[in-house]
């Protein structure tokens, strides 16, 4: 059958049919292969990368966390969950994520609102600033913390210089991590939520005024109900990203070895770098981190669906 093909080799459209065939064209195995290739071939490299380098590793971690020397076992999970150090890391990561996301929301939402109402030129300048700050993270930002709030940091010296006896939070402390994390995450929160601030149309405020509402009444009855789901979605994303941060945490915590504040990401990195016999522990911690992230992302999507329900 394949011999009768009139399709030129470079035509990638599938389904070789001969004009005038009255019956549906019977396809050879080769023809079907061509058809499938025509549909999928250009995307194949990307699909392979997704499958082998993103899906397979995630699955491998999940499966690996339920194994020990004897085969299937929930023993690794029990040993992680019951160990105080690991519990502390999980709880601290969650608390850190929640604290950072909440502070980002409190600061970022008003800022996003104000910027979303600026003239395009000024707004672009602000967006550029936030883009720059949001991209400044990792080791460089960790170093900046020392330069500003270290024992001989700029701000430390400035405050002590005016006679106040002030000791800045240690970078590896919970407070120190929060300050560092806020730096990249506030700009990200602002950049994330500015577009959704457009959901609140200006003529609603005008209509509310015509209806005799005060500014407070408008925000309570219309403004906040409309924006709340978008803001909540932003909170969830920052929460998800914060618990997964590694480079900045590594820099702030001094490599994670002398840990005053245990974090899941630091535990995982530390185990992998130093202790091969504990890899199973890193494996379980990774799956826990994964589960938190997936749950949070699902909540994000549900929230967003709620947010746009009034606009469909």
């Amino acid at each position: 059958m394949a011999t009768h093909e009139t399709v030129t080799p470079d035509r990638m459209t599938p389904g070789p049919t001969r004009a005038g065939d009255l019956l549906p064209p019977a396809r050879s195995a080769f023809g079907r292969l061509r058809e499938i290739a025509g549909l999928w071939l250009p995307a194949l490299p990307l699909i392979l990368v997704i499958a082998l380098l993103l899906l397979a590793p995630a699955l491998s971690l999940v499966i690996g966390s339920f194994r020990d020397a004897s085969g299937f076992s929930i023993d690794p999970w029990i040993r992680v969950i019951t160990r105080r150090g690991d519990q502390a890391a999980i709880l601290t990561s969650l608390a850190l994520g929640a604290t950072v996301a909440t502070l980002c929301t409190l600061v970022g939402a008003p800022v996003a609102w104000v910027i979303s109402r600026m003239l395009p030129g000024r707004r672009a300048a602000w967006l550029a600033l936030f883009t720059v700050a949001g991209n400044f993270g990792g080791i460089g930002l960790g170093f900046a913390y020392y330069a500003i709030l270290g024992t001989v940091g700029m701000l430390t010296l400035a405050i002590q210089g005016v006679g106040i006896d002030w000791v800045p939070p240690r970078p590896s402390s919970f407070g120190g991590l929060v300050i560092g994390y806020l730096y990249t995450n506030v700009p990200l929160f602002v950049l994330l939520t500015i577009p959704s601030m457009g959901a609140l149309r200006d003529d609603w405020w005008e209509a509310a005024q015509v209806a005799s509402a005060t500014r407070a009444q408008f925000w309570r009855r219309v403004g906040l109900p409309v924006l709340a789901p978008f803001i909540a979605a932003g909170w969830l994303l920052i929460f998800t990203w914060s618990i997964g941060i590694y480079g900045l945490a590594y820099a702030l915590a001094g490599g994670g070895a002398a840990m005053t504040t245990p974090l899941i990401t630091l535990r995982i990195g530390d185990i992998l770098a130093t202790d091969f016999t504990e890899t199973w522990r890193a494996n379980v911690l990774s799956v826990i981190l994964m589960a938190i992230a997936i749950l949070s992302l699902l909540a994000y999507r549900v929230t967003l669906r709620r947010a746009v329900r009034w606009f469909r």
Partner: protein, 353 residues
Amino acid sequence: MSSVSLRGVVKRYGSVTALDTVDLDVASGELVALLGPSGCGKTTLLRTVAGLERHDAGRVAIDDEDLSSVPTRSRPIGMVFQSYALFPNLTVRQNIAFPLEVRGRPAAEVRRRVDEMLDLCHLGIQADRYPNQISGGQAQRCALGRALAASPKVLLLDEPLSALDALVRVRLRDEIRRVQQQVRITTLYVTHDQAEAMAIADRVAVMNHGRIEQLDHPAAIYDDPSTPFSAAFVGSRNAVPVVVRDGEVRIGPARLPAPVGTAGTDRLVAYFRPEEVELSDDPEDLPVRVELVVFLGPVTRLHLDAELDGGPVRFHLDLPSRQAAAHPVGSLRRIRIDPSLVRLFPAATEVHP
């Protein structure tokens, strides 16, 4: 019953004058349409009455009370926005209740009044739907109900029909008029659609470049435009360039006395409507050639080429569609125009809306 009074209202945006000393009086219970092309200032005028724009000079008053320093939310107005601006998180019922609730009216009164409004606007079935679950026409009626809920003295409508498709538009236009006459509320109605303005208004204010060019009853504006802009913008018209010669203007055999203040060889434009052009058999009349035949439903419009004052001129002539078959493209005919129906304006001010 309340009246609106604007005196010398000026509004500037930087170097652009959006409202140029506008005077306007709307009588109690009257519906005045503000008609004009986009950018003519009609929406700015409406928003000035609402207090959403602050005027730079002049006086805006309702019932003789100067509102210049009164904020929007304390003005006795209701407004329907072009986009309706229905609050998306509130149902139809809650939207209509909003102006009452923010005024702190007792719950029983709110409920009674909202039911009245739902009834008035025929929205009973949709009362508990959200704005994104109702049609454009229903959203429009909901916006009208919200605007009227708190019994304002003046109703402001900003292009309330422009977001609707043609079929719904005519029905809702009559609906708005019915509601307006039922509650007998003083109304300002902004539109760019002259047919809409003519159909709904007691009086029409034709606006251009931030000024009111003409303010009159629809029929008067249609029959007797006082400015070339009104003539060009309202209705579809022939605009034929003519020249003053010996103190008069000729269009074929029709002779018109030249307007006061024009001199010999001044260029003018003659405005007259296509249905006022007549076909004739009189050999004295102006010879024309049929160039295009456009079927418009009840009437058919003939595009006719002629020569006038040594130059080519195109006339439009409307005749009942049944008679149009007798005048195919290419046929030669003669036309005449009743001089009393022609309006002459200086050529320099010719307008293409």
